[in-house]
Amino acid sequence: MASSPIAPWEKKAFAASVFGLGLTGVAQMPIFSRYYIADIPGFAWLGDFVFTHMLHYALAAVFLYFAFRFAATYVLAGRRDHPLTASGAVRVAVYAALIVTGAVRMVKNLSWVYMGEWPVLVVDWTHLFLAMVLLGAVLWARGGDRRRYTALSRR
């Protein structure tokens, strides 16, 4: 099987959801209004915390759909002869950790869940730190010969 079982449009949709999550995530810090970005015509919504928070939630669902679809497809295809590349493994690990910390943040926001102040703080800082690590990992993966998640068949 030489061709990827994942269609190009799926990869594009995944990338778009990651970009959107990064943008709406950064918008959670009160900086777009401070630094005039929300003043640019058409970008006022970036200064609306509740709206970008809602978008982050919605994009998380889109992101999770594709992330799990790719992971399941990879596992089910039984492509043991296509191991993850180093850059692929790094990105998968960062995404997985973002999913876990993001999910914890969603859970703690449910009205009946009380998580304690220190767990909230630690999970919050970890999610933020991971978002920065992801930015680094994605930029790094763009360079050289590191774009592919999986190695070409050894056969």
Partner: protein
């Protein structure tokens, strides 16, 4: 109703006894840990004496900000400096040095003129936008149903105030963690508000404002009991309720003999003076979108399994066919 009897119905008789003997002493029989507590304000009993405001200021004075001056310059220049350190006496609105104030209004109701006083502070929402949206983990709910801002961590971006339907948290520039990070470029001090006397409660005591009131206006207890009590009280005085359903439900319930719109009309909101308008649930989307985030990966895996199964059958047919 007398305070003892009242607290007894709330299962806090121990607290009543202890508090009656030695103010602030640990309750003998506090509510089980993890019980969400709410407070009830019976506005028909409030005389606006301000003893609660005084008590709050006294109990929390050692937690008030002591900013260093001059403040570091902040960029861009439109970032506002908010300095209340020379106006600590202001007590007719919320400030970093005043977490409770009395909103007074003269209201015409059913042909009578009534003087109403309403102690105002953080509502302690059940789905607090301030805590759910804090991007720095500084604001959070507690197991007892109060909402706190950790003043050691807060950077003073004031997002919590922007997203709070009542604009409760108040900023003081020139204090806090941001001074140790990038004071000119990010952050702007620390946000302050009522934390329902977290330390006193943790030590088994009562909030200072509850204890100081000569008229037993406030009571505190498990939320369902407080809600039931509020409805009883409202029925008895043909009164009105605020806070039970506002913003999806809060742990602060006011019962008033006059409509809250009338109080709002006679004493309009303004800076540091929160609204009394009905507040819809700002965070209602969270639960449904969180559900979508659970369903999406399940659907994705199911879809991938079906696709793989189809591929397999196709491949088999191809081989056999």
């Amino acid at each position: 109703m007398k305070r003892r009897a009242f607290l007894k119905t709330l299962g806090l008789a121990g607290a009543a006894t202890a508090a009656a003997a030695v103010p602030g002493l640990a309750a003998e029989k506090p509510a089980a840990p993890g019980t969400v507590l709410a407070t009830l304000f019976d506005l028909s009993q409030c005389i606006g004496c301000g003893a609660c405001v005084e008590a709050c200021r006294e109990a929390n004075a050692n937690r008030y900000p002591e900013p260093k001056k001059p403040f570091p310059p902040m960029y861009p220049s439109r970032v506002p400096v908010e300095d209340w350190s020379d106006k600590r006496d202001v007590d007719d609105r919320l400030t970093p040095y005043n977490w409770l104030f009395i909103q007074s209004a003269t209201v015409e109701h059913q042909g009578k003129s009534l003087e109403v006083h309403m102690p105002r502070r953080c509502m302690h929402c059940q789905k607090p936008p301030c805590a759910n949206l804090c991007p720095w983990g500084a604001a959070s709910k507690t197991a007892s149903g109060s909402v706190r801002i950790n003043t050691d961590i807060c950077l003073g971006g004031a997002k919590c105030k922007t997203v709070c339907p009542w604009s409760i948290p108040q900023r003081q520039t020139g204090v806090g963690l941001y001074l140790d990070l990038l004071p000119s470029l990010a952050g702007n001090g620390v946000m302050y508000k009522c934390d329902r006397c977290h330390a006193r409660m943790a030590a088994g005591g009562l909030p200072a404002c509850i204890e100081a009131c000569p008229n037993e206006v406030q009571s505190i207890g498990p939320r369902d009991e407080i809600v039931a009590k509020a409805h009883e009280l409202a029925k008895a005085m043909s009164g009105f309720i605020y806070g039970e359903t506002e913003n999806g439900g809060t742990n602060t319930i006011y019962v008033s003999p006059v409509p809250f719109e009338a109080i709002q009309a006679a004493s309009p909101p303004g800076p540091g003076r929160p609204t009394l308008a009905p507040v819809t649930d700002a965070m209602s989307f969270e639960t449904s979108l969180a559900a979508a985030a659970v369903v999406a990966p399940i659907a994705a895996v199911a879809g991938a399994v079906l696709r793989a199964a189809k591929r397999n059958t196709d491949a088999k047919e191809h081989r056999h066919g």
